[in-house]
Amino acid sequence: MGALQVKKESKKYDAVIVGSGAGGGMAAYVLANAGLKVCLIEAGPNYDPAIHSSQLKNPWESPRRGASTKFRPFGDFDGCFWGWQIDGEPYTMKEGSDKWDWWRARMIGGRTNHWGRISLRFGPKDFKRRSIDGLGDDWPIGYEDVKPYYDKIDKLIGVFGSNEGLPNDPDGIFLPPPKPRLHELMIKKTATGMGIPVIPSRLSILTKPINKERGACFYCAQCGRSCKVYGDFSSSSVLVKPAVLTGNIDVITNAMAREVLTNAEGLATGVSFIKKDDGMEYQVSGRVVILAASTCETARLLLNSKSTRHPNGLANDSNVVGKYLHDSTGAAIGGVLPQLFGRKRYNEDGVGGMHVYTPWWLDNKKLDFPRGYHIEYWGGMSQPAYGFGFGMQGLNGQYQINGKTKPAGGYGASLKEDVRFFYGAGVGMAGRGEAVPNINNYCEIDPNVVDKYGIPVLRFHTKHSDYEIKQAKHMKETFKEILHNMGAVITWGGDDTAANNYGLSNPGNIIHEAGTVRMGSDTKTSALNKWSQAHDCKTLFCVDGSQFVSQADKNITWTILALSMRTSEYIIEEMKKQNL
């Protein structure tokens, strides 16, 4: 290594944004379209689904038949670079912590290239949970503050669904949903009969074209690979690409942010980063700095940005940065539907993911846990991939196959018959619930460990409470009842007990982490104000999941987009008023 030099970019930007996922992409889109000069820093390479997606590839086009690698934990065709681990970028666990699972993407668009497109608005109650059950905290804003932005985003990005008039699952401006698949009709009939609502899912997938830049969905079920015709929402294709076309934005890829730079008054003035391509250190400056590096990376950046004015890290006078880290709860179960054995073949790919889902339907006052969950469903005749047909010896001895009883296991033409017989009969469901944010669940800077760029890494301390465990128990009991009532035979996830927290996923595993730089009215207990602006640094904004006070029983992306748009418009207004 030669003598270290820091290159300062001479161009001064109006805004420097770190991260190009939902939050950063939206900020870039809004600010660039308003004529502001923007610098967007992304830790990974460029990615354009039209060019890079593995959509419509067949399993044999992957030497590992679509199996996962550490580079693509959701499979060889998945649209996300990296995941549960990144070479040279460790993180650690504090003693006594449950295992925290941390998914990190490194690419333009971030995780939005492969996400489930489940696009749920928070409801009025979701912003005021403390007022309802005394736990956690209320947001400093309410549904009425965010609704106009949900409306705009529905129109700008597109989402299908149905208006149901539900009190806490607000209606939207929806494209028509796809008709349910066969197993979804079965689920709907059974669950509805038990008083559990099953309604069209709400996914940001275009069942109708909404503009000339994006094609409509052609039903390949592969949203996880990202869409070559931009028929679903990825920040790369829907936000970053059009933002670049304005000519107002410079995108710096393969650039790992090191810290936020501040001046003598403690105001954020820019960002320092290392370019992976040449290993050099750079600094770029802007009137405001907007962090959207993902919930934990944003907290890490702030905690690593220490100065005389901010000895505790930037935006951290309250000492809450990194704290209240929480993820959706998750528990799942699966089985087979004997009535679908030997079923007729047809193309039932549909959109990527479920066509129906269950929003939270019960009253927590009558339950022994405080927050709700929604249910996601899957099943049917999907594209085979690595793992297909595994464990046949656990299945083929249990049922008559085309009228014959066979011993478990076997081989030969008889085994081929079995595989065909069972194909497409699988069914499963998973709960995604709201955890109660807790000050004892946090990430902090590990005092001993740095990554390969010399940046101090995060150390996690997270633990599930009884609230989440009891919720998982309720999920499993409900799922078993639904499966039982529809005549399914449970093949996995049915034997959970208190000993394994009823199959509750590790915190972080559901990849909906939020809360580390939360907003609030009280500067002592929150880091940001209601405009996602740091209480102690007016030129610093956080527009990803870090700003969340609580995350509802809803996936958080749609709210990240809405809040980022709202904050971006605020920044434009404040700049006009010369306040920034």
């Binding site: 039209a50 030497p63 038949r65 594209q383 085979p384 690595y386 793992g387």
Partner: protein
Amino acid sequence: MDRRKSIKTLLIGAAGTGVLVEACKQSDKQEVITSGTASVSADRMQEEKDYLTKLESGPQFFSADEMKVIALLSDIIMPKDAVSGSATEAKVPEFIEFIVKDMPEHQTPIRGGLRWLEMQSFKQFNQSFADVTDQQRIQLVDQIAYPEKAAPDMKQGVSFFNLMRDLVTTGFYTSEMGVKDLGYMGNVPNQWNGVPEDVLKQYGYAYSERELKECVSYDKAAG
């Protein structure tokens, strides 16, 4: 453009080649025309390319003798039948050679299992598994292919055969031949119009009035 008639979407292909996808529902025809062979490595990160090169340029894991037995077992597990060809025709042994390099946790169970099988073959027939008769081979396989019926001292063989059954089945049914055998009809541009009428009838289901009114539907008769 009348969407009900056709969807024509210009896609930019993997290596910058134009890919025209045409889904023409009223004639129920789907066509994908590509002007170049999509490279498997087209959308790989540099780290993935390096890793794949390392796997593919490295030494073979299995010896020629081991590969011979893997091929024999593959075709016992997935033989040619009235519907489709055999595992070796679907290049399943090549898939197994690759996958043990990609997933090293399979290496010892398979290598050890092959040797276990070889020793059983010598014990029972005084010959290598590759050299015994077809009938003797099946006689040996029958002792490890049925977990619930296997003798206690055959359990290690059962574990090995379970793993081979998994890998051969998955390798076969993710090959072009296997996917066709299975009858998976997706992975093509189309317009989802709901469950086919005859299938709805077979299972006693019907779409509700609201579903028919509010869900997206494509008029097959139009155009």
